[in-house]
Symmetry: C2
Subunit: 455 residues, 2 copies
């Protein structure tokens, strides 16, 4: 279908409406292996009113609308399999209001989390959710992102307090309030967070801030095997230790990170941990964690107490993805994302490790294990259909395993186009309920079609 008839109506955007080939091609890319046709046009709105006008016009022409943040999109959420208009929020990236006294900030969706934290530096507050990539906050809300600090500060579910949303028909609604809690009706904020742009286009977010911790301490340590490392995590969480971060890297991931960063690291599974609190509190937590880790056979415990040491440590963790990609040159990755109850984590990781080992494909494992969440980065040659097939089977078995162990097919990456085939297995008839909600808010199916709900 072509949507050329809509373009004259969108001309009010001037040069902020593009049909240039390079622009369209940029917006058909993602960090996933999923291929899609390009959008028919890309809009770069600057205000909520413009987004509302865009939605009104698109609905009149039955033209699909797909939001675009930073374009990470690990399950192809921001791709346009049915073409239409991509709404790129990169020019709506302002901090609108900081309310330090209420630990709250109002931002536009195109702002990235790193840019927000730079702006907040002088306030003594920070926005903790850290998915690794310097994602846009709108995109993070839409995929219900989490990452390394969710074990302490929660996911986007916990840190989005209110939203402004443009619905398919161009109506602007506000969900939530500036109060810390409410029981005034359905929680539309929570319904929107994780909806992947299928219910509306988010134009403003009110986010919860947290106090910058008075003291921070981090450490890295090695374990004799996967079971010891994961059991250490399980015990730590069950003891109620308020870890700020507790990240797992398997031996393969460690090898890739060591090669990438030029550091020497033992060929063993590692944990990277961080503690936040008062100086006494951090010292107490660190001591207790050290005891637990030693009970699980940890060795090579290295503290990173100075800011520059911590920065190096977390830079290594955040660059694990390019490091892993570089470990098999010329490859692309299928990034999996399972999440299970903490009591089943060791079993899930070990079964996954064995499953990957039985194939010819490398698949380093790492994860936010304090939440029971881990990823295998399946490295495949882009021109080898056999490897793609094997990786897809591994990915499917990971999803099935997560469900068998009481978990979920997606801990933090969302559904997009990549995981639609597992939704019935996870949700049963509740998936049709999601479809009914979608139908109620977007009866013509124009908001990010082809994603999340039954097609």
């Amino acid at each position: 279908m072509s949507f050329e008839t809509a373009l004259p109506d969108l001309a009010f955007l001037g040069d902020r409406l593009s049909t240039a080939r390079a622009v369209l091609d940029h917006h058909r890319q993602s960090e996933s292996h999923i291929r899609s046709r390009a959008p028919d046009a890309v809009a770069f709105p600057q205000t909520t009113a413009e987004v509302a006008q865009i939605a009104t016009i698109c609905t009149r022409h039955r033209m699909p609308m797909t939001g675009w943040g930073a374009g990470t999109s690990l399950e192809g959420h921001a791709l346009t399999p049915q073409g239409g208009l991509t709404v790129d929020f990169s020019r709506m990236a302002a901090v609108l209001a900081v309310h330090p006294e209420d630990m709250r900030v109002v931002v536009q969706p195109g702002l990235t989390r790193e840019a927000l934290n730079t702006e907040l530096r002088a306030t003594g507050l920070f926005f903790p959710v850290d998915p690794g990539a310097n994602a846009s906050l709108g995109g993070m809300a839409m995929t219900r992102a989490s990452g390394t600090t969710a074990v302490r500060y929660g996911t986007m579910r916990d840190n989005v307090l209110a939203l402004e949303v443009v619905l398919a028909d161009g109506q602007i609604i506000r969900t939530g309030s500036a109060a810390p809690k409410s029981s005034a009706g359905y929680d539309l904020t929570a319904l929107m967070v994780g909806s992947e742009g299928t219910l509306g286009l988010v134009t403003e977010l009110t986010l919860r801030l947290h106090g910058q911790p008075e003291a921070v301490s981090a450490a890295i340590c090695a374990f004799p095997d996967i079971a010891s490392a994961v059991d250490c995590v399980t015990t730590t969480i069950q003891m109620g230790l308020p870890m700020a971060r507790i990240e797992f890297l398997d031996t393969e991931t460690v090898a890739a990170c060591a090669a990438w960063s030029g550091q020497t690291m033992p060929a063993a599974p590692h944990l990277l941990v961080e503690f936040h609190g008062s100086p006494d509190g951090v010292a107490e937590q660190a001591t207790r964690f050290g005891d637990i880790a030693r009970d699980h056979g940890c060795s090579g415990f290295h503290w990173a107490n100075q800011p520059e040491d911590r920065a190096r440590l977390w830079k290594m963790r955040h660059q694990a993805y390019p490091a892993i990609l570089a470990s098999r040159p010329g490859c692309t990755a299928i990034v999996t994302d399972a999440c299970v109850p903490i009591s089943r984590l060791a079993q899930a990781v070990q079964e996954t490790r064995a499953d990957i080992a039985a194939t010819p494909i490398p698949g380093p494992i790492l994860g936010h294990v304090g939440d029971g969440n881990f990823h295998a980065i399946l490295l495949i040659r882009p021109d080898d259909p056999n490897e793609l097939a094997i990786a897809k089977q591994l990915s499917s078995r990971m999803a099935e395993r997560a469900l068998r162990l009481g978990g979920t097919i997606s801990g933090e990456h969302g559904i997009g186009m990549g995981k639609l085939s597992h939704m019935t297995a996870e949700h049963g008839p509740a998936w049709a309920v999601m479809g009914a909600v979608k139908q109620a808010l977007d009866p013509q199916g124009l908001m990010n079609p082809g994603k999340l709900v039954p097609q």
Copy 2:
């Protein structure tokens, strides 16, 4: 409308279907001033399958279904203005499974929070949400309840991980999983929590548990005036002190509690606080709070370090409601429920205090002020329409004031029938979106009609 034709189909419940006048009359009562007709019948199901069968039959006969937990229902949520069937969950009150290793419990909706915590005592875990009343957990989920500990442990929004829900057509769905987080589709759990039974009947809840704190310390202290007490709270929260409880009682509430419990207390606003953590952590928090409180002119700081002292302290707080009722014999109460950003709390409480003082009605104020949430208990003579009118005007002005200050008309009591008239002011066009969601899941409008959504 009469629903007598449905009753023969419901006869499979045997003596667990009642049309006895005493039973019907019991189910037209609530802790609110709202009056309603009685239901036509009351069902006491024992299993999810029975609830599903009930829903199928009710839908066939277009008979409204209204869930019933412990019957507190401060906004008349569990009343039946259109008659129909009340589904009383008192015989579905079991703990189905405890998973201490995952800090998770699966319960039936009729279980009360106190009964749950009694069952959990030996596990070292507890369920923290404490709305004061010994409410049913199903009812608490449906009103998105919170209470004294939400400042530390969150509300029902944060502590319900998964649900089993019977929809209007009798379909049984499961929302959420046993994993600590997920980004697999719309957050139907969060949509259901706070939906007041208007989308379905909850038949099973998976709840998040927390470790019983190693050390607990509580204290009570008096302040020279409301502003000092509330500013002390604001500073405490802004400093990031992890208070487990921080409760405000104004002078009138203190007088009522003192008379009720036979204790001597200074005629001044008070704060009741509690700290949870390690022994060192609690000592550190208590010292820091003591410093802040002294800066705000606090006096008469009394520690309650022994379990029996703490039990006495919180018993006094939990009996504030009957104590206030007893302070004006023969009266009933309109319980208001405003919640504002913490920075506007002092203004909100003081304006409310002045507004009440200008009327002939007593209205002691108390609240979970760490969340910006407070209640005025407006005491009126049940036979005096003038007092009822004044109380309703006060309550309306509290709602309007909360909205003007960026807050919400309901911090934790829900909407029910009592606050429908303020929903447009709070939500604007988003209220119609709630109506569209309701229409999608319950097209015949049979689940708890007359509540929450546009009528």
